[in-house]
């Protein structure tokens, strides 16, 4: 029983890491938007970099989700 409880608590704590990914994604998209509004003509050229940064950052958040799943089901 206690092991189960600890497992759920651990999964919850592991998911906190996704908050960091959320902050990072906000920074990426916010800064992209700020830059794009200042210089709209250069925005299109940086779109692949935006997607790359999005995927790299999102992956880190998802790593913590995987740890949560490992704690729940592993």
């Amino acid at each position: 029983m206690e092991v189960d409880a600890a497992r759920y608590i651990g999964a919850g704590i592991a998911c906190l890491g996704m908050g960091g990914a959320g902050i990072g994604l906000g920074l990426i998209f916010g800064n992209y938007l700020a830059g794009a509004l200042r210089n709209p003509s250069a925005a299109a050229g940086q779109f692949t970099n935006l997607l790359l940064g999005f995927a790299l950052t999102e992956a880190l958040g998802i790593f913590s989700l995987v740890i949560a799943f490992l704690a729940l089901y592993g």
Binding site: T48, L51, F54, A55, E58, A59, I62, F63, V66, F69
Partner: protein, 257 residues
């Protein structure tokens, strides 16, 4: 999580189970034909079939299907040219194959097909792909530069910093296949689990009577939105995989930065 943990009906993990379709053994090694193998074969047939079928006309003014194939080709070709330069175009077939395989495997797992299985949601598959990339990177680096390839681990800094930086460079190089494979695997796993969890909400809400059935609109709407997001992620992760492959290959081509 779904209410009946471990049960078959509402278990979001059940979709990742490998099921045997045709059991067989080769020299005592279990080489059964599983649903994973089935969808790998399907991915191969569909991707090759799509590219061959769409390009069979080779019209100067492309039709609808041909322009899709040309769009994908140009997209990856531009990316490779941008990162590796025109002398790196010899790696284009390799990168394009990886991209198409991952893209089709990711996308195929999102369709409601019988025994559907996302090939890339198995860690061993993505790890094999990542190790293939690493073998190509190290092999080409050693072939092209010999021992000069190891200059990759010598950053251009004052000598006094080298004892700290060289181990960091080596560790970061060795963790590349892990992060490359785990990124793709985790994205696919998390996306599919999220879809199934919201689908499970619909079932558990629907059993609550009329009000519950009315409320199922919400998880259903989220499910639709998530499916759209998953298609984006499926494409994006294939693109990221191809881009990172290119970046690693660039290290093999120019190890001294």
């Amino acid at each position: 999580m779904a209410s009946e943990h471990g049960g078959n009906t509402l278990d979001p993990i059940h979709q990742f189970e490998i099921q045997n379709i045709y059991p067989m053994e080769i020299f005592g090694i279990d080489a059964s034909f599983t649903n994973s193998a089935l969808y790998m074969v399907l991915t191969l047939i569909l991707s090759a079939g799509f590219l061959i079928f769409s390009m069979r006309g080779r019209a100067l003014v492309p039709g609808r299907l041909q322009s899709v194939a040309e769009l994908v080709y140009e997209f990856i070709a531009n990316m490779v040219r941008q990162i590796l330069g025109s002398e790196g175009m010899k790696f284009f077939p390799f990168v394009f194959t990886l991209f198409i395989f991952v893209l089709f495997a990711n996308t195929l797992g999102l369709f409601p097909l019988p025994m559907v299985f996302t090939v890339t949601s198995a860690l061993i598959v993505t790890f094999a792909l990542a190790m293939l990339v690493m073998v190509v990177v190290v092999g080409y680096g050693l072939y092209k530069h010999g021992l000069g390839f190891f200059k990759l681990f010598l950053p251009d800094v004052p000598v006094i910093l080298l004892p700290i930086l060289v181990p960091i460079e080596i560790i970061s190089f060795l963790s590349r296949p892990i992060s490359l494979s785990l990124r793709l695997f985790a994205n696919m796993l998390a996306g599919h689990v999220a879809l199934k969890v919201f689908a499970g909400f619909i079932i558990s809400l629907g059993s609550l009577g009329t009000l519950g059935i009315l409320a199922t609109v919400m998880p259903f709407a989220i499910g639709v939105a998530l499916t759209a997001l998953e298609f984006l992620v499926a494409f994006l992760q294939a693109f990221v995989f191809a881009t990172l492959t290119c970046i690693y290959l660039r290290d093999a081509m120019h190890p001294s930065h």
